[in-house]
């Protein structure tokens, strides 16, 4: 290791952190739902995809201004998720967790078909009005993609916002109560179903934002849904019900996969990027299943 290239290493780490924070943003939607409704959403990636497709279709194909396209997409996600909560998830309260997982897998298939069915299958660009020339720092030439920077800062902002919401605000406290026990919170006069709907709405808004950011990075088509698969290593590493965990998990996943792509790919011939986070996740599941910041579940009969 005489000629270890620190510049290369540092660049991988820095862009890994930024990408990781953008993963955290997607994972946040997942955690929000799990935290408050105990439901598991395997369709988070598809939410991101559909939101991105709507923005892309409105902005690129119908020529609406970007702010209008984004608000339309957010609006759609809110309405859609409220409807979803009413029609699908509410009847399934109290059913085994496997059933809820399957329902969201079905939802994922539905959305993956519906997105291109209604808006066309082609890949659309989604251009945010920012300069995309890389920012260069220092003599080691660390390139920063401005979209990464924007995405990461949006992610941090949202994560801090939700952290505050859960810890300090009245609604957030109520939501944590709902997450702990539906029955007790009902007895304390909390309208549980309203908070379920609220959680899904928040997840929808987060997904829409994720769709805009990831869409501007990758272009919008059904492939955007693959981001959803990155959510699982993030939430398992960090712990399923922890917002701090989402940030840490996201950063770990981002850095690890970037390092794998930088150092392992030349050795084994590619593809390690999609695979190392999962190996890490399996290890975590074997030794500390509830993640770094998760709350262990104690079971009684």
């Amino acid at each position: 290791m005489v000629d270890f290239n620190w510049g290369f290493f540092l660049e991988l780490v820095v862009s890994g952190v930024l990408i990781g924070l953008m993963y955290s943003l997607i994972a946040l939607g997942f955690v929000l739902i799990y935290k408050s409704t105990d439901a598991i959403n395997f369709a988070q990636g598809e939410f991101v995809m559909i939101a991105g497709i709507i923005v892309g279709a409105c902005a690129a194909s119908y020529g609406l201004p970007l702010w209008l396209a984004i608000s339309l997409s957010v609006g759609f996600m809110v309405v859609f998720n409220v409807g979803l909560e009413r029609t699908v998830l509410r009847p399934m309260i109290g059913r085994p967790i496997v059933a809820i997982i399957m329902a969201t897998i079905g939802l994922a298939a539905l959305l993956r078909g519906a997105g291109p069915f209604f808006f066309g299958a082609g890949t659309r660009p989604l251009n945010l009005p920012i300069d995309d020339a890389p920012i260069i720092i220092g003599d080691h030439f660390i390139y920063l993609n401005p979209i990464h920077l924007l995405g990461a800062s949006a992610a941090v902002l949202f994560l801090l916002g939700f952290g505050w919401f859960f810890l300090k605000s009245r609604k957030g406290v109520a939501m944590r109560a709902v997450a702990d026990s539906h029955q007790v919170s009902m007895a304390m006069g909390i309208n549980v179903q309203r908070y379920f709907a609220l959680a899904w709405v928040m997840a929808g808004v987060v997904a829409a934002l994720g769709g805009v950011i990831w869409g501007s990075l990758l272009g919008v088509d059904t492939q955007l849904a693959i981001i959803g698969l990155k959510v699982f290593p993030v939430v398992i590493l960090g712990g399923l019900d922890s917002i701090v965990g989402v940030i840490v998990g996201g950063i770990i996943v981002g850095v690890v996969e970037n390092l794998a792509a930088g150092y392992l790919d030349p050795m084994v011939g590619g593809g390690t990027k999609d695979f190392t986070p999962y190996v890490l996740m399996i290890l975590m599941l074997m030794f500390k299943p509830y993640g770094l910041f998760g709350k262990p579940i104690i079971e009684r009969i």
Partner: protein, 355 residues
Amino acid sequence: MFHRESGYYKTTYKGDMAFYPLPVGRWSVALLGVFFLVVVPLFLDPYYLSVLCLIAIAIVGALGLNILLGYTGQISIGHAAFMSVGAYTAANLITKLDWPFWLAVPSGGVMAAAIGVLVGIPSLRIKGLYLAIATLAAQFIIEWVINHTPAISGGVQASIEVPRPTFFGEKLDTEVELYYFLMAFAVIAIIATMNLVRSRIGRAFIAIRDQDIAAEIIGINVFRYKLYAFAISSFYAGVAGVLYTYYLSIANYEQFLIVVSIDYLAMVIIGGLGSVLGSVFGAVFVTLLPIVIRIFMDTFGAFFFDPVILAQVTAQFRLILFGLLIIVFLVVEPEGLNRLWLNIRNYFRIWPFSY
């Protein structure tokens, strides 16, 4: 089928254990057997026979997943990966060592079972969502390993060509012969599962599904039985993978992507969790669904859509309908097609005195 017992006349344990206690039940099953083994292959068009072959393969795979998900309550999103393990194991044995099918099929299953046990080990500590994610990870890791190991995947395009099976020196290369070949495995799988789930092992599975802590307290070694469930389920998956390889004459990892895992989950759920007949219904339904949609779209699609994009629209339409069906079944009829069938049957059993 729609017969009804006039009382409870079983006097021996043997009579009590029989699958079909009444002669009329035995006769209707025999009739079904004759229909599928004699009438169907004689009179059906080769295209529809090949559809039936696909259904037979799907039945084997769906039964495997139902043992794991429906009877033991352990979710797996990596079923297709186990199929690919079986498929590639058998493909390598067939092409490199020239093994006959009666060795290749079980060895593919055994290899898949070994990998399945490995994946099942975390199930001791984790369950529900965590297990779902772990098996999802297994799906990706197995896919990646097969794809990146030329010794397994045969190098170019990760696909191995496999000759059709030979039976006593006779090469099974017509659709009818292949139909008999695959149907035989489907029948064996159905009978094996029906017997498995009422054995000691099957009852232990059901106890674990219903309440695993309680099962442990009454003396079931939960870890061991969970591993059994993973092994048996993956064995079925591996066998299904080998059969699919024979059917296609090629082992290719693209036939075993995560979409296929979800297809199998859908079969088990639409068909009915924890029921053998349900697995059969689910396999038939999910295999036929895309074919029916395609025929429908070929006939009527041109009225609604531009012929250029018709193929795409058909695929999207299939996904939409597929997702919708999973959700509708889960919300409205969690016990699936099997429950619908039982409802119909019970209605006619007591008809016309329905109260």
